[in-house]
């Protein structure tokens, strides 16, 4: 914690403007990612995870989306007001991103090598031959056999797991300081998931790249992350180390999430599920956003929006139940 963080997001607010007016998809969230750290962002579908990551890349489709407020400090530089030209330098070079669907993240008409080399030439001052060499090395690094041959193949000839490896190779080919992985294993089957996760963990150690792991799978979080942010309806509801989240979850939502994980050791008749759905962004104007689904709800929750309370060192919770620790 002594070093300056690679990424420091401060009170980021991203809204979408529709005919119904402004809908905040990400509402005043703050977090930071330290050098070499793997941070998990967890939440149900539609809670603003992907919007957060696209905001950091500044790839929010605009219109209707817009970063309305806050700062995104990348190595101390605020990129919210940065020009599109500057962003192009940053993307791929400083921040790279891998997507959920490896099947569609590669252009079907070009060879792997073609696409891999393209990005390398864009950011590194190298010629085609050198770029090809770097590409082959990257493919070897992500554990693909017969790398030279794969460079000449088309995406449809590779399996999902291999394509995701290619995507990771592509993302890491310019030594970014930060890698945003938006549900990188969701579309893969379980065995491949484990491989990809351990690959990312190894690369994180080897290259010292900070990773933001966006997922809805708490298993993935337990596997690779060091710190976790739990998001709900566009807000951070809990932030803690992985250990604390699993051993000592504070927010009723986190508790609910953990309870809904099937456990092999126990045979339950029914799995626990949190009642209700994630509210539509902007639907709740007043009070805690989780109040309607919360098991420990008070009258106060419907009126006031709780701030982020400090539960322990490095453990923050947005819930009145933990107000004792004082406001953060």
């Amino acid at each position: 914690m002594t070093q300056a963080p690679v990424l420091d997001v401060k009170e980021l607010k991203t809204s979408f403007f529709s005919s119904d007016g402004e809908v905040p998809a990400v509402d005043n969230i703050s977090f930071s990612v330290n050098k070499g750290e793997i941070l998990g962002i967890v939440g149900e579908s539609g809670c603003g995870k992907s919007v957060t990551s696209l905001s950091i890349m500044k790839l929010i489709p605009q219109p209707p989306g817009k970063i309305v407020g806050g700062e995104i400090l990348l190595n101390g530089e605020d990129i919210v007001p940065a020009s599109e030209k500057r962003m192009r330098e940053i993307r791929g070079n400083d921040i790279a991103m891998i997507f959920q669907e490896p099947m569609t993240s590669l252009n079907p008409l070009f060879t792997i090598g073609n696409q891999l080399v393209e990005g390398i030439i864009l950011h590194k001052k190298v010629n085609k031959k050198e770029a090809f060499k770097i590409g082959v090395e990257m493919l070897k690094l992500v554990g693909l056999p017969r790398a030279e041959q794969i460079m000449k193949e088309y995406p449809h000839q590779l399996s999902g797991g291999m394509r995701q490896r290619v995507m990771i190779a592509m993302a890491l080919s310019c030594d970014p300081k930060l890698l945003i992985a938006d549900e990188p294993t969701t579309a893969l089957d379980v065995t491949i998931q484990a491989q990809i996760l351990s690959l990312m963990k190894n690369l994180n150690k080897k290259l010292d790249t900070a990773i933001i792991m966006i997922t809805h799978d708490l298993g993935v979080v337990a596997e690779v992350c060091q710190r976790v942010i739990v998001m709900y309806a566009g807000k951070v509801v809990e932030e803690a180390s992985v250990r604390d989240i699993f051993k000592n979850p504070k927010h009723p939502y986190t508790v609910g999430l953990l309870e809904s994980i099937p456990d092999v050791r126990e045979k339950k008749e029914r799995l626990y599920s949190i009642p209700g759905n994630v509210p539509k962004p902007g639907a709740i104007k007043q009070g805690c956003r989780f109040a309607a689904r919360c098991a420990n709800v008070h009258d106060r929750c419907f009126v006031e929006d709780p701030p982020l309370y400090k539960a322990a060192d490095g453990h923050h919770v947005r819930c009145f139940l933990h107000a004792a620790g004082g406001e953060n």
Binding site: L59, E101, N107, E118
Partner: protein
């Protein structure tokens, strides 16, 4: 016997290694299997060769008039394969030379409308917003007119000639290509690899020409082939109306219109240019359908 077993042993066990096959090569393979498409291609190829080697194939020039009665309006014979017209000109030679004009007009007009239509369509689809509105309304306006009427109007303004007919045909086909590629760009734009390309830090123009365009080109090729057929018909129609090729030029539509007067006396003067038009158009249509099946399996049926 021993030798042969030895040989077999020596063959290294190679894993069923898939050779890198480009999507284009794959399309070609499935195209080859389609009999009708191959027939269409041969017809097109036949006319293209006819056009290229016209001076060697045609026994006479396009305007060698023989005004003696014995040579005028002669029925097909060993001397005049397709007979002669009212000026005693060899219809076969004129049909052969006519293929030059028709194919030339067809290709050039379509290439023109593809280039302009694609540029407008890509810009409209990719940048969206008001650019899209302006360009799309322009397409709508062009499409609001019946195409042949619009072509006639354009030729009427520019003056009747083959070149102006070509320009008119190119213009009336622009919205077809423009709208096609615009819709294609709109759907390709949503693909994740475009987002991935942006995430790597690629410029808009590069994404446009390197990622969006190649993925939009297949339907353009299909539509282009089919459009050549329509362009040939349109050129013939304009020629028939006297708005295309001028007098001695053996444009097929013009030949039809000249032959009208002798329909009962000398039907061959009408039949052969007509047959040429039908065959060429059929060839392009078959080829275009085959290309569609090969390049864009979703569009089948």
């Amino acid at each position: 016997m021993e030798l042969s077993t030895n040989k077999e042993m020596q063959v290294p066990i190679e894993p069923a290694e898939e050779k890198a096959v480009s999507p284009w090569l794959e399309a070609w393979r499935s195209f080859r299997k389609n009999k009708l498409a191959v027939i269409g291609t041969f017809i097109v190829l036949f006319f293209v060769l006819l056009a290229i080697f016209a001076p060697y194939i045609a026994p006479e020039g396009i305007n060698e008039q023989k005004l003696t009665t014995s040579d005028r309006l002669q029925a097909p014979s060993s001397e005049y394969w397709f007979g002669t017209d009212d000026f005693g000109r060899d219809v076969f030679s004129r049909v052969v030379y006519g293929s030059r004009i028709s194919l030339w007009v067809g290709f050039l007009a379509v290439i023109g409308s593809i280039v302009i239509g694609c540029l407008l369509g890509i810009v409209a689809g990719y940048y969206g917003k008001w650019v899209d509105s302006v360009i799309s309304r322009f397409f709508d306006i062009l499409l609001a007119f019946p195409s042949i009427l619009l072509a006639i109007a354009i030729v009427a303004v520019l003056g009747p000639s083959l070149r102006n007919a070509l320009i008119a045909i190119a213009i009336i086909n622009i919205p077809n290509f423009g709208r096609l590629i615009r819709s294609r760009v709109l759907s390709v734009k949503q693909e994740e690899f475009i987002m991935a390309a942006k995430a790597v830090g690629m410029k808009n123009s590069r994404i446009l020409f390197h990622h969006v365009m190649p993925n939009s080109i297949a339907p353009i090729i299909v539509q282009g082939t089919l459009a050549i057929a329509t362009a040939i018909i349109e050129a013939a129609a304009l020629g028939f109306l006297g708005l295309g090729a001028e007098a001695p030029n053996p444009e097929w539509g013009k030949m039809l219109s000249d032959a009208r007067a002798f329909l009962t006396q000398a039907p061959w003067t009408l039949f052969f240019p007509g047959l040429a038009i039908v065959l060429t158009v059929l060839g392009f249509n078959l080829m275009g359908d085959g290309l569609r099946d090969a390049l864009d399996p979703r569009m089948k049926n």
